[in-house]
Amino acid sequence: MKIGVYVCHCGGNISEVVDIKKLTASAEQQSEVAVVRDNAHMCSDVGRNLVLEDIKKHKLDRIVVAACSPQFHGKTFMDIVEKAGLSPYVFEMANIREQCSWPHFNEPDLATKKAKDLVSVALAKARLDESLSRKTMPIGKRVLVVGAGIAGIQAALDLGDAGFEVYLVEKEATIGGKMAQLSRTFPTEDCAACILSPKMADVPANPNITLFTNSEIEKVSGFLGNFEVIINKKPTYVNDQCVACGVCEEKCPVKIPNEFEQGLTNRRAIYVPFEFAVPYRYLIDESNCIYLKKGKCGNCKKVCPHDAVDFDQKAEKVELKVDTIIVATGYDIFDAKEKKVYGFGTNKNVITSLAMERMIVHEAEGRATREIGKRVAFIQCVGSRDEQIGNEYCSRICCMYATKLSQLLKRADPKKDVYVFYTDLRAFGKGFEEYYKRAQKTGVKFIRGRVAEVNEDSKTGRVTIKAEDTLARQIIESEFDLVVLSVGMTPGAGTRQAAEVLRMTKSPGGFLQEAHPKFKPVDTLNDGVFICGCAQGPKDIPDTVAQASAAASRAIRLMNKGVYAVEPITAVVDEDLCSGCGTCVSVCPYEAVKTEIKDDKRVAKVNEMLCQGCGSCSAACPSGASQQHWFMNKQLKAMVGAALGEEEK
């Protein structure tokens, strides 16, 4: 056996703390070590070539690199080892940056000592490494997209256009998401409905997309290339004979606040969500329909000329097999009732920004639903950047949409007094600063100070805002006709539901966690599952669309070749040692181990395609028959020995 050891300086990150000379000297003393080198940047071309050439020149068969975390550059070096013709699994990394020089920079001697131990640990493991090779598996071209806001729509269209088979699942009765509710979009002020509705229409027109609305994913099992999905299609109680003539609606006696209109108008129990809904078909809201609750009424059924109402519709389960999954479940606006000082829910003149979006649409269409009033104040950062309510993050959109809404109001009626009370005004996107300036020019007053409280005069309904203008250092106590809360984003119930079904990791704010914040922003820790849009974190429409296309292309990257490589670090059973006890079968989360009779003996067998390599079965096996490749019992023991300074024999 010939091992090469490579020590990285990381441009001083390591070498300023760890004594590289001492470290290489100690490595040279270790058995089977043939070459020891150090370099300023092992991950650079020069560093990598060093390894490549040494493997060839010195016939090295094991490689140890002492550098940063294997999570950071593990793959870089595995690729180079593989390129040199070796198995990538004869490579080990000693993490002497994150584990030594950084967390112990005040104690260079102890850090150096620790680095030596970590190199010994890596060597101990390397000596026992097997020459494993990656297996390839076939993969198809089927994608599940969960959520059909602008993110899900964009991803589905990209994939459909590229010839992939898309199943788009939306929990609401229509696709479109939050964007469908907006008036205009910053910073260009395109009409949201005008730019969104053609895209929505493209979805059912695309032959590669199958759309499930009013549906949720109920269960997802399996793995990349082999996901099994159960979709729960909820009843709409209106079948596809419906021509959307609207006759039923007029006869429905129920009136409830219209959620799409943020309660500004009412709708019936049988309704279409909005004018450009896709699919454009009526449905019955079962929690409000009198017939479905009490068995009385049935007006709609009586009047429908197409016999489209069907009270007997039942939920349907649809089973699908897909190869990859994209999660685009978006966000919910922050529930402003949680922020009691602003009086939302009790003061009728305190509304959310989303309601203001709808009011502006209504104004523009000449069907105003309520008075806006002369004096309007926006309160920023409601539900964001607020540790009192537990949300530390900035929602990234509210500064700009307030800039938008305030100037739309002001431009429509220059006599209005429009104020925006902000904490910091964040205008970092392309064209944003220019847009902010335009609002200032329009006459919107921006006041730097977070509003402390809002109180209502119970007689007049006018609302008083108390805040400090932190620039003028004056206390402002001023009356307004309307207060608009610039509510932030929260991950929302839909995103939580999808995350639970798919067992996804969440970031601290509760949004879905990406595999790497810089380099894998739309990948997740679940192989073959991607995220995009506001499910991943707060963002505006351009960023959402960019991520959606990125998620589609990352999914295509996996599926396009028709095969993909599987990590060989699966479990394997030594049949001679196996007693057939079945312990491993019971612990495997993937049902990847089964027992079978072989030569009259019950033995366990691992399905390498299903095994994800957690090693739980190997840990559980009472007879040492189950072993996980690359993490064999003897390897773990050797590593422990080395870590504790045991002399190797």
Binding site: C100, F105, L118, L525, N526, C614, S616, F631, G645
Partner: protein, 145 residues
């Protein structure tokens, strides 16, 4: 770590959460006592009780097993398995006259660098006050009390 005067801690970390959490601690330059050695496994459930006992036998003063928070395990339920196994192991340790706190289980996620630091420093302090483990069946004075 050859002499028995300085604490020796082995920390088994799962690849997805706690190893990344340890990295996060390092990346944030959070300073820790250097007397621990991290060994990475794919899942905390790979760490069997026998390996932990072996680690104590080989001279570790304490063993930390760290995994993803319940519900966040990359392998769905691996960490629940770990939790059960460690609970059983602690009973066994008590029977053997070894202080059960020598084996510690923690949930540390990829972004909890601060927690990793706190756990490591606390654990090292605790083990320092317990002192080295004397095997077999000869607990230190503190352990016996």
């Amino acid at each position: 770590m050859k002499t028995n005067t300085e604490p020796k801690i082995v920390a088994f970390c799962c690849n997805w959460c706690s190893y990344a959490g340890a990295d996060a601690a390092g990346t944030s330059r959070l300073q820790m006592k250097p007397h621990f050695r991290v060994i990475r496994a794919m899942c905390s459930s790979r760490i069997d009780p026998e390996l932990i006992l072996d680690t104590l036998k080989k001279g570790a003063w304490g063993v930390l097993v760290a995994g993803c928070h319940p519900g966040d395990c990359h392998y769905v339920t691996g960490n629940y398995r770990t939790q059960k196994r460690i609970a059983l192991l602690k009973n066994l340790l008590t029977e053997l006259g070894i202080a059960p706190q020598r084996v510690r289980l923690e949930w540390i996620s990829a972004n909890e660098g601060g927690k990793f630091q706190k756990v490591i420093n606390e654990f090292i302090d605790e083990m320092t006050s317990l002192g080295p483990l004397q095997l077999p069946g000869r607990p230190t004075a503190k352990e016996a009390s």
